[in-house]
């Protein structure tokens, strides 16, 4: 009888250890844990680029202001103008005080066509608080990796067009005054939703 209790106890203990180990391994392997390991979601980070006025910039331009960050290209006739227009509408809904505290960054994923001068004319169409950023292919690649933005050049031959096209993720990232990621908005987001989140972060 005592012997039986001993074996039962041992089996329960072994099962507990086994289940515990599985849980621990599963937790280690989950992507959520990987992100939490950095203390925050891993969107955003270092970049070195040139703005549409020809000034060199780094991730430090995010400091002290709320930022809406978008990756696109000026040759894009459709998706990018739509999202930039929504960003411009959100900026227009802000009070002068809120606007002074907020900026938008349009980061080109098409360094070949998006020269500084090209970007200056482009972002100027939408809103004075939108800064265009471009750089060398290596700099742009590094910036997209920091933000987990996706882009891919589709050659004219591959696309069957007269000029090459760019596939790209169409996300608007909201970053706080420390340059940390707050939230992502999808293509076609309601400008009011961005305004609401900008106010929430400012109040926060």
């Amino acid at each position: 009888m005592r012997r039986r209790t001993f074996w039962t106890g041992l089996a329960v203990l072994a099962t507990a250890v086994l289940l515990g180990s599985i849980a621990l391994i599963a937790d280690r392997l989950s992507p959520q844990r990987t992100e939490q390991g950095h203390g925050r979601a891993a969107i955003g980070g270092p970049f070195t680029l040139t703005d549409h006025l020809g000034q060199p910039v780094t991730q430090d331009i995010l400091k002290g202001k709320l930022s809406l960050v978008y990756f696109g290209y000026s040759f894009c006739p459709d998706i990018c103008p739509t999202d930039l227009q929504l960003i411009a509408q959100a900026l227009d809904q802000l009070t002068p005080e809120e606007l002074a505290d907020t900026q938008a960054l349009f980061v080109s994923i098409d360094p070949e066509r998006d020269t500084v001068a090209q970007l200056a004319g482009y972002v100027g169409l939408f809103h004075p608080a939108i800064r265009g950023l471009t750089g060398t292919p290596e700099q742009i690649d590094a910036a997209t990796k920091s933000y987990r933005a996706y882009y891919k050049k589709i050659s004219a031959e591959e696309a069957g067009t007269t000029d090459y096209l760019m596939d790209h993720s169409a996300f608007i990232y909201l970053m706080n005054r420390d340059g940390d990621f707050v939230r992502v908005f999808g293509h076609g987001v309601n400008p009011g939703e961005m305004v609401e989140w900008i106010r929430r972060v400012r109040a926060g």
Partner: protein, 162 residues
């Protein structure tokens, strides 16, 4: 004399096309485009295509403002925008207007010869499989315009009257 003969042939050909296309009428409504940057190489035109009977297909377009004009569409997959040329033209069927609008089908202007300025307009010639050429006047709106402005829509009734 030779010129006269050529004109006669061209007229005859045009008359044949005219007769061939006489069954259905294409109408184009609410065309618009977006203002482009001073150095922009690309732009897009949007509009609604309808046909009063049967079906037709938009095969292409041309415009003096661009070196080439292509029919494109956008595919959004998991937040990724992929712009691609439309294979085989854009179908227009009676009873179901075909909308060319931001985020989807559009007429892509490539190699702009001059910036598209808000408030101006430009000519665009649509080429249909059956209806042939249909001229349209496209008003240029704001850089991020999502829909034609009120009062401009009537511009687009590019009559292809038979």
């Amino acid at each position: 004399m030779r010129t006269f003969a050529r004109n006669l042939v061209v007229s005859a050909a045009a008359a044949l096309l005219f007769v061939g296309a006489a069954q259905a009428e294409i109408s184009v409504s609410n065309p618009f485009s977006r203002a482009s940057a001073p150095q922009a190489k690309a732009g897009a035109a949007f509009m609604t295509l309808s046909i009063d009977a049967g079906a037709d297909k938009l095969l292409g377009a041309s415009s003096p403002v661009a070196e080439t004009v292509e029919l494109h569409t956008h595919l959004m997959e998991g937040g990724i925008a992929r712009m691609r040329p439309v294979e085989g033209g854009i179908a227009v069927t009676a009873g179901t207007p075909t909308e060319l609008k931001p985020g989807g089908l559009h007429i892509m202007l490539m190699g702009l010869k001059a910036p598209l300025k808000q408030g101006e307009s430009f000519p665009l010639t649509l080429k249909f499989e059956k209806a042939g050429e249909v001229p349209v006047t496209v008003p240029v709106q704001g850089p991020g315009a999502m829909a034609p402005m009120k009062g401009h829509g009537h511009d687009g009734h590019a009559g292809h009257h038979h």
